[in-house]
């Protein structure tokens, strides 16, 4: 037997190569509800991008003569007191919701991951300081903390994003801190350190990439919560200011005409539910596909 034959034999005994990407897709798309969530998200992003083309009417300027119309062929979901088409406002509301969601997650994610990475990697005093501040922020119910900052900063889309970022940073920091501490224990980290790599290199090249899958899951699951919180702030009147189209504010506006025009309140609420549901389901699916061990943790 030649040497070549042995290697061929060994090669055959090696486990079959599984395409990682294909395996991911198979697990991810296994559950119908995840596919449903994906479709909803796709439609939402689509209507947010093409809101101008999709909306049948101007969402900000209504026709006063058509004020408080019931749902009909002309206005599929009716109109509000200013004669603005509810469907058009819903479609434009997608923009607000998704923008607040993605920007908040971006800011809070970057800040939270950085803080958690530093705290988890160095331990000791930096960890003590960072994590105690995060614990303090987590002492508030997320919504009440966001309310506090939104009230202080004074509403508007920019301030809502800031308030929600402050309220969600501790979640990312805490998870990242835990992840970093466990990744740090691996031999390859020790090997890298022994080779004389700088701390920042180890952190960015080795710890961070290994924390990406769980963070993607966390971000997706959090998006729903953030959109819900934005709706809640806008409902209270300390979020997105009129005439901006925000679903939460629409629920509140419609509340006054509940007995005559219930769709005004009902429709935006269903939109909020759908978005949150879709993000939660896609998040669950991602978790199962990327890292099933996270079940029950995230």
């Amino acid at each position: 037997m030649t040497e070549k034959d042995i290697t061929a034999e060994e090669f055959q005994e090696a486990p079959p190569r599984v395409n990682e990407w294909r395996r991911f897709l198979r697990v991810f798309l296994q559950r119908k509800i995840v596919i449903f969530g994906l479709i909803v998200l796709f439609l939402l992003v689509f209507s947010a991008i093409f809101a101008n083309l999709l909306a049948p009417y101007d969402p900000f300027r209504g026709i006063l003569a058509d004020s408080l119309e019931a749902p009909s062929g002309k206005y599929l979901l009716g109109t509000d007191i200013q004669g603005r088409d509810t469907l058009s406002r819903l479609i434009f509301g997608t923009r607000t919701a998704l923008m607040v969601g993605f920007v908040t997650v971006g800011i809070a994610g970057v800040v939270g991951v950085t803080l958690g990475l530093i705290a988890g990697y160095f331990g000791g005093i930096p960890s003590m300081i960072i994590m105690r501040i995060m614990d303090a922020l987590m002492g508030f119910p997320m919504l009440i903390l966001a309310m506090l900052f939104a009230a202080v900063l004074g509403g508007g889309i920019q301030n809502v994003v800031i308030a929600l970022s402050i309220a969600t940073v501790p979640g990312y920091a805490r998870v990242m801190n835990g992840l970093t501490m466990s990744i740090k224990e691996n031999d390859y980290i020790m090997a890298e350190q022994a080779m004389g790599s700088s701390n920042s290199r180890v952190m960015l090249r080795h710890v961070l990439p290994n924390a990406v899958p769980p963070m993607i899951v966390l971000v997706t699951l959090q998006l729903g919560g953030i959109i819900m919180a934005e709706a809640a702030l806008s409902f209270l009147g300390i979020g997105i200011k009129p005439p901006g189209a925000a679903w939460g504010a629409m629920v509140n506006d419609g509340y006054r005409y509940l007995s005559s025009n219930p769709t005004l309140s009902f429709a935006p609420g269903i939109a909020i539910m759908l978005v949150v549901f879709a993000f939660n389901m896609v998040g669950d699916g991602l978790r199962d596909a990327l890292d099933p061990r996270l079940r029950g943790i995230l």
Partner: protein
């Protein structure tokens, strides 16, 4: 165990101090002079001279360095002085004391319903995994966490208040004055407050029970020929429900957050509504002390949860 408790206590104390700093400095970000806001009506009604303003500024300590102001405020809080509301012109302690029992009443009921229904659903789904019970529970729980509380409240008002006229749509009467009316009034608020919690509890107890029923000692119990009821009640539940304790802490936060909406919509004069009114009245004293009180309650109850957790599951303490 003692060292564990002491360590937790010290950490909780540090966190509380940071919380007070966050609240205090967040309020100082408020655009505008708190004194002008305070004097709002008087100032518009006419003359307050610059000298008087200066005098008041001195009186309220607004000329002191910020750390001194913080120190004075914190010192007052330690002595039970939460400050005087700018809007109600009343002591914040008294204001909150009047409203707290209402929030507690709703919150406690919602919490009990949440624990009973949520745990039952979660456990049933776990021990009947893969059956219709499991899918119904999981679906309900998945929908439950997505429902905006304020929207559900409006939906219920529409259905049970306006269309069916079964329940009053707003208000709160003391249960000692008219128990039946009170019960009717709180049905919807309590349900709205409980819904998100219930869904969370069901999900958590389901996954925790699934985890436990996979353990070796449960298999041993099965192979001993024990009946299912015994295995679940005597062996699985004890360990399976430990993580549910953490919900005591989370639930409290949900109660306060929920009270903000439920009390606003159903016109119940509780702590949540007080916070919202104060935000609109720019009553920074109430916002400041109110959020501090809420955070303190939550942090202290989380401390209790952590300690009882460490006591119930000794592995935690060494973790």
């Amino acid at each position: 165990m003692t060292t564990y408790i002491i360590r937790r206590l010290i950490i909780a104390l540090i966190i509380l101090i940071i919380v007070s700093l966050i609240v205090f400095f967040a309020i100082r970000l408020l655009p505008g002079d708190p004194l002008i806001i305070f004097l709002g009506q008087q100032a518009t009604q006419g003359g307050i001279s610059q000298a008087e303003l200066e005098h008041l500024r001195e009186l309220y300590g607004l000329n002191d360095p910020i750390m001194v102001q913080y120190g004075n405020w914190f010192w007052g809080i330690l002595h039970g002085d939460l400050g005087t509301s700018l809007y109600y012109h009343e002591d914040v302690g008294v204001l909150m004391g009047d409203r707290f029992p209402l929030t507690l009443h709703l919150g406690a009921l919602a919490f009990i319903i949440n624990i009973v229904v949520g745990v039952l659903m979660g456990v049933a789904a776990a021990i009947r995994r893969g059956t219709w019970i499991d899918s119904v529970t999981t679906t309900l729980a998945n929908i439950g966490v997505c429902i905006p509380v304020f929207w559900l409240a409006i939906l219920m008002i529409y259905l049970f208040g306006l269309k069916l006229s079964w329940l009053p749509i707003a208000g709160y009467t003391s249960p000692f004055k008219d128990f039946w009316l009170n019960t009717q009034q709180i049905v919807m608020p309590v349900f709205c407050m409980a819904i998100t919690m219930m869904a969370t509890t069901a999900r958590l107890s389901r996954s925790s029970m699934l985890e436990v029923t996979r353990q070796d000692y449960i298999r041993t119990a099965w192979s001993k020929g024990l009946r299912e009821r015994n295995i679940i009640m005597r062996h699985a539940l004890k360990n399976g429900l430990i993580p549910v304790i953490t919900l005591l802490g989370i639930g409290l936060g949900m109660v306060f957050a929920g009270s903000v909406f439920v009390e606003t919509i159903f016109a119940i004069p509780g702590v949540g509504r007080l916070l919202v009114t104060s935000i609109f009245a720019q009553d920074y004293v109430v916002i400041q002390s109110g959020t501090l009180v809420i955070a303190t309650i939550i942090i202290l109850s989380n401390l209790l949860v952590d300690i009882s957790y460490g006591w119930l599951d000794p592995r935690i303490r060494y973790g």
